[in-house]
Amino acid sequence: MPFLFTAEKKVQLLWCTITISMSLDTSAIRRQFPALQQQINGHPLVYLDSAATAQVPMAVLEAMSECERHDRGNPHRGMHVLAERATEKFESARKTVAEFIGAATHEIIFTRNATESLNIVAKSWGKQNVKKGDVVALTLLEHHSAIVPWLQHKEDIGIEIAWVGIDETGMPRMEELEELLKAGKTKMVCITGQSNVLGVRPPLKDIIKTAHASGALVTVDATQLIAHHPVDVADLDCDFLVFSGHKLYGPTGIGVLYGKRKLLEAMPPFLGGGGMIGNVTKTGFTAADIPQKFEAGTPPLAQAVGLAATIDWISQYPWKDIEAHETKLIRAAVTALADIPDLKFLPNFARDKVPQAGALLSGCISFIIRGSHPHDLTDVLGNRGICLRAGHHCCQPLHDHLNIPASTRVSVGIYNTEDEVTLLVRAIDEALKTLA
């Protein structure tokens, strides 16, 4: 009996530990988000579109408001007290971002969004380093903002775009990438850290190591990954990495470009204007040092402060708790959605091959329902307060590959609940009756 008692106690202790470390207090988290408190047409708001734009907590709104009320000046311009506070806040935000992703402070460039960050890589680094006949490798998972700037170079200077396909689980085909890199013409590989359609996370470290072995650089699009998983640029050894504030529960209007110092220093400026110059004469100019070289014009001060506040805010929750919570939500969504007749999940559409949350799937899940266009479905759901994304999600090459024009996406964040998943599935059932 003493043995049994001990074993039981151990089990109890273990159970307590797991409960404490793996559960977020979702109610307490939700209370911090003003937007989540509203009703739409008498229905509670069910926000399942965080992959497009996440909602923002009070702590971030208050930090931005405080900055605008109290510390509004032009960073790096002016000697007065408000300009000094603005400079301090702006540079302190840069430091917060750098520490968040394991970078050096001067390797963090503030941009408008992830799209602008990706354009700097293509237009500045690419302009200097990619010539006619060189190859830029993209996977079918990439977002248009990782694709289009390179397609512009294809038109303008004749570079080649090589597409790396995906397997039936949605993961990039590593053997295709390896084959491509062997040819030695690839200068840059662009890879998403987490697909904004399929929710898969490509093996970044393997891809980066493989690319580097062939002399190619790697740009990581961490726009989705950043809100769901820790990111460490030193550990990844990526050359560039981008993300935006608004997908991390932060403000719109601010994005981040990380680049290795040596690369950023050698690159020409992107936009020209105030703040990015060393010296200007009537006949020419010299560029400022990094990071200012890439920050022409008055920067987004309150947004940078908001981004730092959102990083401080999310850092109070352990990543493993966030991931466990979101995996539970995706699993619940997959299980419940799988019961809807005629619903098929991307990417393989097989009823008997339901995607697995956690191991393969993070942040979102996309599907089609025969007979109901995603735009119709999400319009009807929207009127019931349920917010989903419909369309090609800025991933037309992926949808072309899957031979569908559009899909419906459910994406989750730190504030979603299993009850919301239940409401979603019930509402889809009703919407399908309306649309039938």
């Binding site: 000697m79 540079e91 050096a104 001067h106």
Partner: protein, 139 residues
């Protein structure tokens, strides 16, 4: 303490070691700028067996940059190139003896930055960036 302490203003009004530089008279001349204030400094020195034997400078700009250079110039004769390589931004702040905030650090460090790059030029090295002068000294 005020940034514009009497010592700073006194050096600004009566700069030490300032002169007109004829490049052929010197072993090294080197110029740097701080675009935010429009500060400019040029340093010239002679160096014998690794020891600074004579230093002058010319420049224009804000009181902090010009007084900083003046105060720094008083320290240099007799210093070895190793002494100067070891100088950090905190040594410069100590020489100035006034609080330097984020909007003026480039003014305060322009003299040191120019000096370090003059020495690097003399040694046949590429100039260091502001990041090396300012940020990496913290790490």
């Amino acid at each position: 303490m005020d940034l514009y302490a009497e010592n700073i203003l006194e050096h600004y009004r009566n700069p030490r070691g300032k002169g007109t530089i004829v490049p052929t008279d010197w072993h090294v001349t080197h110029a740097e700028q701080n675009p935010s204030c429009g500060d400019e400094l040029t340093i010239a020195f002679t160096i014998t067996n690794g020891v600074m034997t004579d230093v002058t400078w010319e420049g224009s700009g804000c009181a902090i940059s010009q007084a900083g250079m003046s105060i720094l110039a008083e320290e240099l004769v007799g210093k070895t190139s190793n002494d100067i390589e070891r100088m950090t931004k905190n040594d410069m702040y100590a020489l100035l003896g006034v609080p330097v905030g984020p909007r003026r650090f480039k003014c305060a460090l322009l003299g040191l930055h120019t000096l370090k790059n003059a020495l690097r030029k003399h040694a046949g090295k590429t100039p260091q960036s502001w990041i090396d002068t300012v940020e990496l000294a913290d790490q």
